[in-house]
Amino acid sequence: MNGTVNGQPLLSVTDLRVGFATQRGLVRAVDGVSFDLFAGKTLGIVGESGSGKSVTAKTLMNLLPSYARVEGSVMFDGRDVRELAAQKEKHFWGVEMTMIFQDPMTSLNPVKKVGEQIAESLRVHLGRSRKEARDEAGDLLETVGIPEARKRLSQYPHELSGGLRQRVVIAMALACSPRLLIADEPTTALDVTVQKHILDLLDELREERGMAMILITHDLGVVKGRTDDIMVMYAGRTMEQADTATLFSTMRHPYTEALLETIPRIDMPSHTRLVPIPGRPPDLIDIAPGCPFAPRCRYSVDACVVECPSLEGHGTAHVCACHKPVGTEAGIAARAANEQQGTTPTGLDMGLFEGAGSRSGTGAGN
């Protein structure tokens, strides 16, 4: 999907499928996802809760529970990642490919000093001596912008603020100079100021080290300024994928449009009526035929309920899975027809979207 770099992608994921056998049935958490990622680039993965973002990441990181069923191929620099997993290759994860999570405590040991935690990884994977590892750990804390870095080496995680903890986790992730860093909602729990610092830091490090990055978030605003490409996921599938500029200038998928419209923007006047996405994502066990977004979609037509759209190209490196893409003649006509009818073929009341974007009446304040 990325046409700007010559040569081979660093990471190439093809038709990835992940199912979880549960008592209720098979949960199809990821259902046919493909993407390429080149060195030095950032891919953003966005989508609502439960859309399969973390499962995709955990599959790459070999962190799935044993009952997960994985199909498809994941190639990293010419090597088959699933084979590395089968061979229990321990110098791959945490070395060449590494991940940071929303809650820094997921990655930190609460009863161990942060210096020791970083040093350990350097000793195990890179064979550094104790002294070397400790010095390097201090350097790493400096790299990630922790004030008085050397002093922090002997502190415990609970003695640090949330923002500093996430910086320590980033330092740990960088210890072995990974070539791919996966950040799963790395800043969701942090204040805006700290969020900005952490995202800036990740940007700088990626740039300096030519590292590739996958940035997972539910916030389109976060990915907008910080990614080269975006993949929009829904119900375990790729709905739309494009380079970031294209996605925002000519988005084609009704779900992408809906996600963007539902978020208040900071420059919208107060009391601008928000456009909700009605309903909720489908159950991943009994996925109905047809488009998974159909019950919530303003553009849907009869065909959407019976026939699942496949990913189709819309210009260079832009794909979208929809029968009636936004901004196309077909899409415009379908939405207009639904507006005329007052309802969609799936029974969605178009009145739900009325008044959206306008200023709603207010109380005494105005």
Binding site: T193, P264, T362
Partner: protein, 336 residues
């Protein structure tokens, strides 16, 4: 910067809530106190939504809880309906008299699922408040009221009668919390991060419902959030807090289009999509918030503020008026 004063209070017949010189301190360790809220004053007009923003730990939740008197503030006053025959100064009320005014102020919280009793049917949860506050809760009037509020938030009353909270999604549970609060016909609804735990798609549904409930039931809202875009969207007026102090207060659109306090500017410039009214360089600030146990002298923001001078360390800035509805507590505000 972050300072004190009461000039922002309005002389107005239609004020529903007036908070004056609110102080909340928590004793910790030996002879130490957390200065969670320090000399905070604001008021809210009937039908208005006042948004409160600021970073984690700046005292937003503490302010909300002090208003509902759980726990009681260290000092200051919280007056409901000042100047009317329903006037009540909450910090002076005790026992039965406090209990009587309680329903006039309802609260909803960030985590919708854990704030609902898991063992009860949803309809009973909504009825619970009425049962506690009104003697005739089983009467037809109350039953109709419960159905009405459930429908208003988009929950089918019949479904609610046979299901427990865990059978609903997070967004639906937040609707249920709203219904429970509104059932009591409060004057003021205090919302503490009501959409922070929800998915973006659900967030808009809840914000629209709050807006609708406000219209329908003539509610006044106090809306706390760390999300600047959300706060602007729902609020008529906004207060920016820092380390227990007020920085800036004013009409929402005025405050966002001409932010005067350096901290407001930091927040607006740090947002994922920064506000167009500030410069990217306005975001420059350290990560570390000083301890509320030993807050900086003078202006509490001075240790992070790029413009701070000796004056800021020596003297706490008082709130001053910049425009018709725009007030700031800073020695060196940015003037539009």
């Amino acid at each position: 910067m972050a300072g004190s004063g009461t000039i922002q209070l309005r002389d107005d017949d239609d004020i529903v809530l007036r908070v004056e010189n609110l102080v909340v301190e928590f004793p910790v360790g030996r002879h130490q106190v957390v200065h969670a809220v320090s000399d905070l004053s604001f008021d809210v007009r009937r039908g208005e939504t006042l948004g409160i923003v600021g970073e984690s730990g700046c005292g937003k939740s503490t302010t909300a809880r002090a208003i509902v008197q759980i726990p009681r503030p260290t000092s200051g006053t919280v007056v409901l309906d000042p100047g009317s025959d329903r006037e009540a100064e909450l910090t002076a009320l005790h026992g039965e008299s406090l209990r009587e005014v309680r329903p006039r102020l309802q609260m909803i919280f960030q985590d919708p699922i854990s704030s609902l009793n898991p063992r009860r049917f949803v309809r009973d949860i909504v009825a619970e408040g009425l049962a506690i506050w009104q003697k005739d809760h089983s009467g037809p009037h109350s039953q109709a009221r419960i159905d009405e509020v459930l429908e208003a938030v988009g929950i089918d009353p019949e479904v609610a009668a046979t299901r427990r909270p865990h059978e609903f999604s997070g967004g639906q549970c937040q609707r249920i919390s709203i219904a429970r609060a509104v059932a009591l016909d409060p004057e003021i609804l205090v919302c503490d991060e009501p959409v922070s735990a929800l998915d973006v798609s659900v967030q808009a549904q809840i914000l629209n419902i709050l807006e609708d409930m406000k219209q329908r039931y003539g509610l006044t809202l106090l809306f706390i959030s760390h999300d600047l875009s959300v706060v602007r969207n729902v609020s008529d007026r906004v207060v920016v807090m820092y380390l227990g102090k007020i920085c800036e207060i004013g009409a929402a659109d005025t405050l966002y289009s001409s932010p005067a306090h350096p901290y407001t500017r930091v927040l607006l410039a740090s947002a994922p999509e920064p506000a167009p009214t500030v410069d990217p360089s306005d975001a420059a600030i350290g990560d570390e918030i000083p301890s509320p146990i030993n807050p900086p002298s003078g202006c509490r923001f001075r240790t992070r503020g790029p413009r701070a001078t000796d004056l800021c360390a020596a003297e706490e800035p008082q709130v001053q008026q910049l425009g018709e509805d725009h007030f700031v507590a800073c020695h060196f505000p940015t003037l539009g």
